[in-house]
């Protein structure tokens, strides 16, 4: 038995443990996962939301970057003759896309008129010797595809008509010729430009006689009776029928030598101001005026603006409006809700009643009153903003309030208060961060709501946002409303972008909501 004397161990036998070392907790080997990191991990798993977020990003990029990519013209560039035209891009036209064509049914008279544009465009000197076949090859030939004609069914008392179905016509070239009034100096400039470029703008004027179909329509350059081409070689008007080697008999205005006349004095005094009436090929006149050929990504809108740029402008307005409303609502709602929820009792009761009453005012009435009272003073966009804010914060306040009721009774709040934290510090430092997820989610979901409401209001005309510099999706849609059956692209692009944006924002918002909900952690279903 070792009878050790434990009470009298010599001092030098003792050694301090970990002497000279700092005692600390063991470091975590992983990085700590914070609230936002945790949310991100869950958000990442939701493929639908990721796709939605990417699409939203693309739409935002479209809205902000389109003006940079379209260098030839700006959003305020307007050409009334090329209004409501479908998409036309030269680079894509060869592939059969965006070639500015529409499919239509033509009667023989109309077909000849359309083909005639190409024929006349080749004949700038007014020889009257160009055949239909040569005209078909012209760069300015609007008829891109002609189908076999069929005779319409026999109707009693009427002659059967030749009808050409599913013809493809280029709508920009279809504008063809038109009369313009230009000053003499301008006339000289056009002639100079023609010399330089080798393109032709000025074409012979048309005579006024019994074969003139319509004195204002510069596309009836050949002799017609009731809209049908005729020949007068035999002395009387005989209707001719369409064939490739047909030469339409021109009806140009000629001087005593038989040369075609290109201008007509229309008024005005001296050299500079004298007005000339001329007949121009509009496609080339456009090139002369602007220096480029008409190219529009989505076509032109009902007034003749570039639809792609107008759409981008409308989207920009909607997005900026929605984001700023969401941010302002967030601030007001969070403060209001925090005060309600934190103090409770009488403060809560009174503030809730006020919010209740405001909430029950029909939103449409609020918007209308703001518009009528304020739009003339501060403009329609700020008054729309005020209208959205005046009742929009209530939802945010309610959500914040609920969160505060949930957390304010917790022990850690009590602990903070015991340690002497002020109300303000407890509200913002201890409780508010807990409700951040809910608040961010609802702030994001406010955005699609605002965009759709704004487009609805401008569609109805309650908010008038359409002018030369600004427009909104709703205005574009309402401009299209009456006429979209003839010009589907006017409706298609705004409606498509709007719907896509709505769907993606909702998907994104839902993904965010799930991501910020820690109780869903590990629930994989």
């Amino acid at each position: 038995m070792n009878n050790a004397d434990y009470n009298n161990i010599p001092k030098d036998k003792f050694v301090l443990v970990n002497a000279g070392q700092r005692l600390t907790d063991k470091k975590f080997e992983d990085k700590p996962i914070g609230y936002f990191r945790d949310a991100w991990i869950r958000f990442r798993k939701n493929k639908g939301s990721i796709v939605a977020a990417i699409i939203i990003l693309l739409i935002v990029l479209y809205a902000f970057l389109t003006p940079l990519f379209i260098t030839t013209h700006s959003a305020t560039f307007l050409d009334a003759y090329y209004a409501k035209k479908p998409a036309r891009l030269m680079s894509l036209a060869k592939a059969g896309m965006s070639d500015g064509t529409v499919t239509r049914t033509f009667a023989e008279g109309g077909l000849v008129k359309a083909l005639g544009i190409g024929v006349a465009a080749e004949d700038w000197t007014g020889t009257g010797k160009v055949t239909i076949a040569q005209g078909k090859e012209s760069y300015y030939q609007p008829m891109k595809k002609i189908t076999e004609g069929t005779l319409t069914a026999e109707i009693k008392g009427a002659k059967p008509k030749m009808v050409y179905q599913n013809c493809k016509i280029e709508t920009y070239l279809e504008v063809g010729f038109m009369y313009k009034s230009v000053e003499q100096s301008e006339y000289a400039r056009i002639r100079e430009w023609e010399e330089q470029t080798g393109l032709h703008v000025l074409y012979p004027l048309i005579a006024k006689n019994e074969y003139t179909q319509d004195v204002n329509d510069a596309n009836y350059w050949y002799k017609t009776v009731k809209g049908n081409p005729v020949t007068t070689k035999s002395g009387t008007a005989v209707q001719v029928s369409l064939s490739d080697d047909l030469v339409l008999e021109d009806n140009y205005k000629r001087d005593e030598n038989g040369d075609p006349v290109y201008y007509e004095y229309a008024g005005g005094g001296d050299h500079a101001t004298a007005q000339y009436k001329v007949r121009v090929l509009y496609y080339n006149y456009y090139r002369y005026l602007n220096g480029f050929e008409p190219e529009y990504l989505f076509g032109t809108d009902s007034q003749g603006y570039d639809l792609a740029l107008r759409l981008a402008g409308g989207l920009r307005l909607s997005l900026l409006l929605a984001v700023s409303i969401s941010a302002i609502n967030l601030v007001i709602g969070a403060i209001y809700g925090a005060i309600e929820g934190y103090y409770g009792g009488a403060v809560d009761l009174i503030l809730e009643r006020i919010a209740d009453i405001l909430y029950d005012v029909p939103f449409i009435v609020v918007v209308t009153l703001f518009q009528i009272h304020l739009a003339s003073k501060v403009g329609p966009i700020p008054s729309l903003l005020f209208a959205f804010i005046s009742t929009g914060w209530i939802g945010m306040a309610a959500r914040t309030r609920t969160q505060f009721y949930r957390f304010k009774g917790q022990e850690y709040v009590l602990a903070a208060r015991t340690l002497g934290a002020k109300d303000w510090r407890i509200i913002w430092k201890h409780i508010f961060p807990n409700s951040l997820g809910t608040i961010i989610t609802s702030a994001v979901l406010v955005i699609p709501g605002v965009i759709s409401t704004e487009s609805m209001l401008s569609y109805l005309g309650i908010v008038k946002l359409g002018n030369s510099t600004t427009t909104s999706l709703g205005t574009l849609l309402s401009d299209a409303a009456g006429i979209w059956t003839n010009y589907p692209h006017l409706l298609l692009y705004p409606a498509l972008v709007l719907s896509l944006l709505m769907i993606c924002f909702n998907l994104f918002g839902n993904g965010l909501r799930d991501a910020f909900n820690p109780s869903l952690r590990g629930v994989e279903d």
Binding site: P362, T368, L369, L460
Partner: protein, 320 residues
């Protein structure tokens, strides 16, 4: 329960009164436009004078309230229907709105609930995923986009439905004719897509929650088949929040949809509202405002109270 209802109703009337007062003051403050026609202008100015439109605002409000309580007089339409009482103008617009929305309600409620139940039962199978995707699509896209889509398909492509709702004269002088109904199908469809989708989503969410609850396990344990347990227990409980929502929607029918009425030119309450703003017919604007406020409040309160009637637990809770 009675006390709770009474409290809610009184509160509703207080809110109603406050909103109407504010709206009245703001609307009366608006500059009044007069027509170009000299005779009409004189008539209208004289009438306004007689009706006290030039007196102080609060006096005007007193006159307005007195008119409502003693003669049921909500003012007069000056431009939409010359010198017709505002109440009559509103009432004449109510039927088309209600009809279109009622048809859409009848179509969408059963379909919405049926899809919702189906999706909940087939949870996480392809059927559910398909329905949920469709719901996401239809809930997000604004109703007027469907309106155009419906017009495109049924008028432009198929040519089976008219572009807009027939006027009363075109449809044989009554809102109830078959011809009128056919012309209403397009707006009914346009309205229903969103409603069906919304209801499907709601029903699915509620039913999946009840399907996974403990009493369902108990029901299965005591020997009920899955379908028995679903219909007798899960569905019954899921209906507690669904029914009040449906009732609320039913009240909301009266207010209708402005955009749909505008697109399909239905001469309803929403179109009247837009017209009254554009024509500066402020008495009509006012009565329309009152109408919308009232409908909104009524829908809210009936929603809340019906919870209590349907679910005994909530009824107990309110008896304090």
């Amino acid at each position: 329960m009675g006390k709770y209802v009474l409290k809610r109703v009184l509160l509703m009337f207080f809110t109603f009164f406050v909103i109407v007062t504010i709206s009245f003051l703001l609307i009366r403050l608006l500059p009044r436009e007069l027509p170009q026609d000299k005779n009409l202008r004189d008539v209208i100015v004289a009438r306004w004078e007689a009706l006290g439109y030039n007196k102080p605002l609060l006096t005007q409000y007193w006159i307005y309230l007195k008119g409502i309580f003693t003669k049921w007089d909500f003012g007069t339409s000056w431009y939409i229907q010359f010198r017709e009482p505002a109440w009559n103008v509103l009432m004449s617009r109510l039927l088309p709105t209600v009809l279109v929305n009622l048809y859409s309600f009848i179509l969408s409620v059963p379909l919405g609930i049926a899809f919702g139940i189906y999706a909940a039962i087939k949870k996480n199978k392809w059927q559910d995923q398909f329905i949920s995707t469709m719901v996401m699509l239809f809930v997000s896209v604004p109703s007027y986009v469907y309106a155009f889509l419906v017009q495109y398909i049924f008028y432009f492509k198929l040519g089976v439905l008219p572009l807009t709702v027939y006027s009363l004269a075109d449809a044989g002088g009554s809102w109830w004719t078959g011809k009128m109904f056919v012309s209403m199908i397009a707006p009914i469809l346009a309205l229903s897509f969103g409603q069906i989708a919304g209801l499907t989503r709601f029903t699915r969410a509620e039913l999946t929650e009840t399907l996974t609850s403990d009493y369902m396990l108990l029901a299965r344990t005591k020997g009920l088949t899955r379908s028995q347990a679903t219909t007798r227990h899960a569905l019954k409980n899921a209906m507690v929040p669904i029914l009040p929502m449906i009732i609320g929607t039913f009240i909301g029918i009266l207010a209708g949809s402005m955009v749909i009425e505008q697109i399909f030119s239905i001469p309803g309450v929403g179109q009247l509202y837009i017209k009254s703003i554009n024509l500066f017919d402020y008495d009509i604007f006012m009565i329309d405002t009152i109408f919308y406020t009232f409908i909104g409040l009524l829908a809210g309160i009936i929603n809340d109270i019906s919870y209590g009637f349907i679910d005994p637990r909530i009824r107990m809770g309110s008896r304090k």
